[in-house]
Symmetry: D2
Subunit: 132 residues, 4 copies
């Protein structure tokens, strides 16, 4: 399986007065998706950060097709776009509990050495965990 799936319920506070999930919450959902994608390969982002490797976000884009609603059981599918180098790129699809396609998205993150505050390549041991 080349993608990872997480499921979670929309929080009330995530709705806005249009009666739908505010679009600004989606970057959070993507973040949850890629963190669980990493975990599914045995990579804890928390441990990575404690070890001095951080992953600041370089770009986010989201295309909204259908609205999500309060109490929906959303599904985020996360997929690696290509082999990570100095950057790691993910594609996402978001569905509701009825399997309706709500949004797709893409994020690019950079591997950074936190101490030196410098870009770095994806560490070899992590690449191996990803199957490269």
């Amino acid at each position: 399986m080349d993608y990872n799936e997480i499921s979670f319920r929309v929080r009330y506070c995530e709705t806005d007065q249009m009666g739908v999930v505010h679009h600004g919450n989606y970057p959070q959902y993507l973040e949850m998706g890629r963190i669980e994608w990493l975990r599914s390969f045995g990579v804890s982002y928390k441990a990575m950060e404690d070890g001095g490797v951080i992953l600041p976000v370089v770009s986010v884009s989201v295309n909204y097709k259908k609205s999500a609603y309060y109490d929906d059981l959303l599904v985020v599918r996360t997929r690696l776009s290509k082999k990570p180098m100095v950057r790691i790129e993910f594609d996402y699809e978001i569905y509701n509990g009825e399997g309706e396609f709500l949004a797709d998205a893409n994020t690019v993150l950079a591997f950074m050495d936190a101490k030196k505050n410098k870009p770095m390549r994806c560490p070899e041991d992590i690449l191996r965990k990803f199957g490269y």
Copy 2:
């Protein structure tokens, strides 16, 4: 002047444990930018929504160049990308208080008739306020 500028201070809660503003807050900043852009042309988004015209977000993309920090006085510059039709598109630039360029972004929103739940053209009176 073809762009509108707003300025506001980063809230503590908007930082994350990397010590910077979490990237997920930027869509909120863009929203604040375009709402004040509308207001600068005499268009209240609140009044528009009360009048049955809503503007759901169709897409958001953000490119992050430099980090924003707690207590920074951020500036969001909002510009209309082109003449609004059934959609309205904005370009944004975000700067910190020292004038450093932090991010650029783009959003597309759709004019919707809230009652009919149907897409519509940008109302004529609003187009005129925008100078078209």
Copy 3:
């Protein structure tokens, strides 16, 4: 069992630059707790709201004892404080995945008839579901 337990993972965006979960997220956690408490008695808050009964929050108080951290698997225990009348009151305890006690909290909500915008008593059918 007189309390309901939910468990969820801290989101990265919920941390702040102190390196802990920002205290402002806890009201959201309490809301998630009481909504699942209701669900455990067969009461969907979504259905209740669709049926014209809303539950605006009258008061929230939280006492923070220990910090929560990124990636923690938090547990929220929700308990009804007393028989609901025109108001419904909940007590909460928050624990981390190691069972450490992090916070306690209390919220009071009011039963409101959404159409009339007036306070009302807790509907009889809901009281019965709660065992009264």
Copy 4:
């Protein structure tokens, strides 16, 4: 004047599907209020934190009287409750742009030595700035 006032506009994303400002945003508003209260006495919370003194929140309580709405120009009035010792306590009142009273609140924060991770007394130079 023994209190400090800030004013800011409600963000769209702060509303929920009840059509009002979600109650969970108020702790953020209080934080903004006390940070500007500090600034009005020449105390930068950012500088304090950079200097190794942090102020984790010990308790928050909010009483909600009337709803706030999208686009409201809210006013937060912040007042010191008593002389700061190892803790600092604030009282707040929140009003809308029409001067209607919306909520009152109280927060208690602890002075902490960030390096030693230990409680400490309010530093003398800060006490003096507060007029003690």
